[in-house]
């Protein structure tokens, strides 16, 4: 029974999809389908709420479900909540966007719900097969959603492109998973991780290739260079609420999985240290993603493309954080306190969904021009949308006191903390990049406030649902930026427990040996020693508490 409870947030999303589908059939052919968007949003938020309740309820931090298939811990809860929020916002954006764009289709909503379900499954899965199912459910729904504006050749093109390249990425993922199975004889993360770490000597060549392929497949989903080419085309061509969904949900899910894999599967020295390791290539991807994303962003004249390149560069920053995760040993304090990646994703998702959301509310009556000229004078036409767009974009640029600044601060801080002697170079590169990025973010603000539209501007869609969604995003960006304490705490807890539940599982005897009287000896706790790093005396209690917590949690569990 507790299995079902642990899985309930994810199931709720699927149930939402089913309910919406039935409601669509029951409601008449000519009824306005907008209410389905609200139902979807409520259902997805319920799923997010369930995740929060499980978290706050102080039950066990991890509820293994179905023998190692699913790990619903606070890490999962964090991302399920984030994905639920972004998914709900996207479905609210569709409510008035689609009719204005001539898409009268109730099937959009169940697809959004199922895509969200897929993303959630992706995040909580700890088995390659389930992971793949989550990936495919999410992707398949999105291929269709991208092409859902049938009157637009751009939309069709986006759908086909995304589908063809996505299939290629899925192929690489399957290859990777299969090779990993070949190398380790298992599909669940924990066993794979343990086997790789125990027997790093033999079969490591195959598992390295396998990991690279999995990285490539996930790199496609998170739009890292050089797997990013589809991003601008697809974000531009898809209906804008779907672009918001892709930029928010898909990226969050992809990174959540990548980070979890980093912790469980290749969090070993051999696999993550040095340049020439699966971990090390994350660094390469990170740097080229940042640079290419930002430089290409400068010359774009289309707001959706600008945001697409912005999302590519953000993938670079986050990859840097993921790379840093691997620098420590699994479970070392330096990692377990690493909230950088989840927190940054939170900041990024809220801001980017807000920005795409505002674009989704522009261009009513079939207009779909998203060039910079089309947003000129938005400040006069709709001050509230202009303000939301500005807040979102400035947050993406990392201007304090908005949330984006906090995200960058925490993330870069932790990248530096992982290896101060070497990583300062990458932090400098990242900060320089965010400087370059400012140019195109400011261009958006410049056009919004300081330019007059040339000719007839596209009418703005009047949408309570959409306005509610984007203003919620903007308020969150602003509020959490000023009071980030709770959010950082939450991300801390999430990543902390992600480490704990994994190390716990790895330390526990394998399933077949459950009757064995003594568990395998635990690895001794080590505080990563960093040269030149002086720990502030006032923080010692925090670190000690973390270590004690870990000691307690990783001890043998009473049956």
């Amino acid at each position: 029974m507790s299995d079902i409870i642990a899985f309930s947030p994810v199931l709720l999303a699927a149930i939402t999809g089913l309910i919406v589908m039935v409601l669509d059939l029951l409601s008449g052919k000519n009824t306005h389908k907008g209410f389905l968007g609200w139902v979807t949003a409520v259902g997805l938020l319920a799923s997010g709420t369930a995740a929060c309740l499980l978290w706050v309820g102080g039950r066990e931090i991890s509820l293994p479900f179905m023998v190692g298939m699913v790990q619903f811990d606070t890490y999962g809860a964090f991302f399920v909540t984030l994905i639920a929020i972004a998914g709900a916002a996207s479905s609210l954006l569709i409510v008035d966007h689609n009719p204005e764009q001539g898409i009268h289709d109730g099937a959009t909503y169940p697809l959004v719900a199922f895509a969200t379900f897929g993303a959630m499954l992706f995040v909580v899965a700890t088995d390659m097969i389930l992971l793949f199912l989550g990936l495919e459910i999410m992707s398949l729904a999105l291929y269709v959603l991208a092409a859902s504006k049938q009157t637009s050749p751009f939309s069709m093109e986006a759908g086909v492109k995304y589908f063809l390249l996505g299939a290629l990425a899925s192929g690489f993922f399957l290859f990777g998973a299969a090779f990993l199975y070949g190398a380790t004889g298992s599909l669940d993360f924990v066993t794979v991780g343990r086997t790789i770490q125990d027997a790093a000597a033999h079969g490591s060549g195959l598992s390295k290739v396998a990991l690279v392929m999995i990285i490539a497949a996930l790199g496609f989903k998170i739009a890292a260079v050089p797997f990013h080419f589809w991003t601008p085309d697809v974000y531009e061509g898809s209906p804008t609420p779907i672009s918001a969904f892709m930029a928010g949900v898909v990226k969050a899910a992809g990174f959540a999985v990548l980070a979890r894999m980093m912790l469980t599967i290749w969090g070993t020295a051999e696999f993550s240290s040095g340049w020439q390791s699966p971990g090390g290539i994350l660094l390469i991807l990170a740097v080229i993603s940042m640079v290419v994303g930002n430089i290409m962003g400068i010359v774009q004249d289309n707001v959706k493309r600008i945001l697409a390149y912005s999302s590519i560069s953000h993938a670079g920053y986050i990859l840097l954080g993921v790379y840093a995760i691997g620098l420590g040993e699994p479970g070392a304090v330096g990692i377990s306190l690493n909230s950088g990646v989840p927190f940054y994703l939170l900041t990024y998702v809220l801001a980017t969904v807000g920005a795409f959301g505002v674009l989704a509310l522009m261009g009513g009556q079939g207009h779909e021009d998203m060039s910079l000229d089309s947003i000129a004078g938005l400040g006069k036409r709709s001050p509230i949308l202009a303000l939301i767009l500005t807040i979102s974009v400035l947050s993406l640029a990392g201007i304090p006191p908005l949330l984006g600044f906090m995200g960058k601060f925490v993330l870069f801080k932790q990248v530096l903390l992982a290896d101060p002697d070497r990583n300062w170079v990458w932090v400098v590169v990242a900060v320089l990049n965010s400087l370059v990025a400012l140019y195109y973010y400011l261009r958006i603000v410049l056009y919004v406030y300081f330019r007059e539209p040339e000719g007839e501007a596209a009418p703005i869609i009047k949408s309570n649902a959409g306005l509610f969604a984007v203003s919620t995003m903007a308020v969150l960006v602003l509020l959490l930026g000023v009071f980030p304490g709770k959010a950082i705490d939450a991300s801390n807890q999430a990543s902390h427990h992600a480490v704990l539940s994994i190390t716990e599982a790895q330390a526990a005897p394998a399933v077949q040996q459950e009757s064995a009287p003594t568990p395998e000896p635990k690895q001794p706790l080590r505080l990563r020693q960093v040269d030149g790093l002086k720990v502030d005396p006032s923080h010692i209690p925090i670190i000690r508490r973390a270590m004690e917590l870990k000691l307690r949690d990783s001890g043998p569990k009473p049956k």
Partner: protein, 655 residues
């Protein structure tokens, strides 16, 4: 007797009153009448000022009760608790921040009042006050923030407000671009600041909380004393931030362009307050800076060079606000020089006096521009003395103050800097003594030029006959002249807070506890005789400059400037074009970046994607056919190929 808890509450009032004003005027711009907007927009900064005065009184009371009392701290909430970092959202009132807060709220309130008259006919009246109040809020955060991070938030906040206000009249594209330039150049500096904070925490294990940091540095066995290279890196990176915000070489280029904003904005942000943030930051971290003689020398040299460089450009400008802008850059150079040689008190002293006379000058210039119906070219002015008596008198007093006429405020503060440049030496002895002579030489040269260009401005504007017959200048309304009178009084008298008499220098005594850490590392090699002798020298220099200006623009040699222009055409052109620095930046930084980006775009993007964005939906129909073909022949296959190549490269890399 005001209790400490009361001061803490007052601190919140000081900081948040302008924010409330900004929110009210920002959210209900159409609901409120103009009158209500003015009352809110001016009233809340005034409340902030009154609260500051009360806090000062309370602080004095506490200090008289307990002489060792140094600061009031008020923590609002725990802001970031993340791993080894915990930052409180805390405010910090010590003698230094009291001085700064008084300047910011006092002069700020006056300029808000002035704006009521100046912006009277502007359609976006409420937006203007909303932004100006928001600026004040950010500036107060910067000044009162207890941690470097909060200081940085204020630092970015003032940059953002500055951007919004420079581009306030955005119908003119140039102005919007000027705002963007200011913001981006500032961000280059902020980059240094941000990196410095990271280094401070991780390479040095330092705290972002300034009092804690001070306590750490005070320990002679700490890493700060052994790892001088890292301290130098941190301080220089912070200084990069300061060069951005305080418009020093190499990042000063944004300030002259920033004059595109409304004149009160120039007075408040680009003369009196925001641009002094860099000086304030260095003075605030004096204990850290003195650990690195190299950084100190760099700071002083950059300051001295900026002072003379900007002054020389100021000699030939004809736009009244541009002259004042270069003058500001030059005076900021003085302040940076002062903190660079270790005369932190003198730097803050000049900051304060400069705030008075430069704000007065800008507001006077605003009054003139207002009267001349928007004309800014001083060659077309003249003879305004009689038409605008109050503006004239206040402008003259401030001009004399900045030129260094004895017994006015600028005389005392500038003189102290000149003396410090020559006499103060770092106790480590690693700074070559000839540098002191160089700094002094540059500074005195700049002082001469200051006197010349300021009085050139004065004579061309106010004396003689009006050179544009269509203009009908008139004196400005009371809401504009009252601030002028108050500021001119300050410009005349503020210097008496820092009289160069041993033991009687009120400001120095007041600030001594803050600069105790820094002062211990600085040796004073000069005597009082030297100081008084230098006073004589600078008096002569000032008077010589004024005399020269009179002779060239009012007196017997009026034909000389034109001749000089001809005979020294090369130099003149260089100066008018500001040493071609903007052009150089364009060629070296901006163009390569944009060019590289375009190149990449052409190779990778346009070459493959052939720009859907450019074609637009108008061509959508023709596009349908092409889409199918493209899918078959080009794009997707190419993308897939690149995907596969990427995987191969990664695999080869790993194996």
């Amino acid at each position: 007797m005001i209790k400490e808890t009361t001061i803490q509450s007052l601190l919140y009032v000081i900081v948040f009153a302008p924010l409330i004003g900004a929110i009210i005027n920002g959210v209900f711009p159409r609901v409120l009448s103009r009158r209500a907007v003015s009352i809110i927009g001016v009233g809340l900064p005034a409340i902030s000022f009154v609260a500051t005065v009360l806090a000062l009184v309370g602080f004095l009371g506490l200090r008289s009760a307990d002489p060792t009392y140094t600061a009031v701290s008020a923590s609002l909430f725990s802001w970031i608790v993340s791993g080894p970092i915990s930052v409180d959202f805390a405010l910090w009132l010590d003698p230094l921040s009291i001085v700064m807060t008084l300047v910011v709220t006092g002069i700020g309130s006056l300029i808000h009042l002035y704006s009521v008259g100046y912006m009277h006919d502007d359609p976006s009246y409420a937006r203007y006050f909303s932004h100006l109040n928001l600026f004040l809020f950010s500036m107060l955060l910067l000044v009162l923030g207890r941690s470097l991070l909060l200081l940085f938030v204020g630092w970015e906040g003032v940059g953002l407000c500055s951007y919004l206000l420079i581009g306030f009249w955005f119908d003119d594209m140039d102005k919007a671009i000027a705002g963007k330039k200011a913001f981006i150049v500032n961000r280059i500096g902020d980059f240094g600041f941000l990196i410095a904070m990271f280094f401070l925490i991780f390479a040095l294990g330092g705290s972002l909380d300034i009092p804690s940091l001070r306590a750490m540095v005070a320990d002679p066995t700490s890493i700060f004393h052994s790892n001088t290279a890292m301290v130098t890196a941190v301080t220089l990176l912070l200084f990069l931030g300061a060069t951005g915000k305080s418009a020093q070489i190499p990042l000063y280029i944004w300030l002259p362009d920033a004059m595109a904003g409304p004149t009160p904005v120039s007075a408040l942000i680009h003369a009196a307050t925001m641009v002094t943030a860099g000086v304030y930051m260095i003075a605030r971290l004096n204990f850290l800076y003195v650990l690195s003689p190299v950084s100190m020398a760099v700071v002083a040299t950059v300051g001295a060079l900026t002072a003379i460089f900007a002054a020389s450009i100021g000699l030939v400008q004809n736009d009244i606000k541009k002259v004042l802008a270069y003058s500001t850059v030059s005076q900021l150079g003085y302040m940076v020089l002062a903190v660079g040689v270790g005369a932190f008190g003198a730097g803050i002293f000049h900051l304060m006096t400069h705030a008075f006379f430069k704000a007065c000058l800008f507001l006077g210039a605003g009054s003139v521009i207002h009267a001349m119906a928007g004309e800014q070219d001083i060659q077309k002015m003249g003879g305004l003395r009689k038409k605008m008596p109050i503006t004239h008198i206040t402008f003259l007093i401030s001009t004399m103050a900045i030129a260094g006429v004895p017994l006015l405020s600028g005389f005392f503060s500038k003189d102290e800097i000149l003396f410090s440049a020559l006499a103060l030496q770092h106790s480590s002895g690693t700074v070559a003594p000839w540098l002191n002579k160089l700094w002094f030489g540059l500074a005195i040269g700049a002082a001469l030029m200051t006197a010349i260009y300021m009085f050139r401005l004065y004579f061309l504007t106010f004396s003689g006959e009006l050179r544009s017959p269509d203009a009908h200048p008139h004196e400005s309304p009371a809401s504009m002249t009252i601030p002028l009178i108050v500021l001119a009084t300050g410009a005349a008298l503020a210097g008496y807070l820092g009289l160069p008499i041993p033991g009687k220098n009120l400001l120095h005594n007041w600030l001594a506890p803050v600069f105790a850490g820094g002062a211990s590392a600085i040796n004073n090699t000069g005597s009082h005789t030297l100081e008084y002798a230098l006073m004589g020298v600078s008096t002569v220099v000032a008077l010589a400059g004024i005399g020269l200006a009179w002779a060239l623009y009012r007196g017997p040699w009026q034909h000389v400037p034109a001749k000089l222009q001809e005979s020294l055409a090369g130099l003149y052109k260089t100066l008018v074009n500001k040493y071609y620095v903007d052009e150089a930046y364009n060629a070296v930084v901006v163009k390569p970046l944009i060019g590289g980006s375009k190149l990449l775009h052409r190779w990778v993007d346009a070459g493959l994607i052939d720009g859907i964005a450019v074609n637009g939906p108008a061509k959508a129909l023709a596009y349908v056919g092409r889409t199918a073909r493209r899918l078959a022949t080009g794009d997707v296959q190419t993308y897939a190929a690149i995907f596969a190549i990427g995987v191969v490269l990664l695999v080869l890399f790993v194996m």
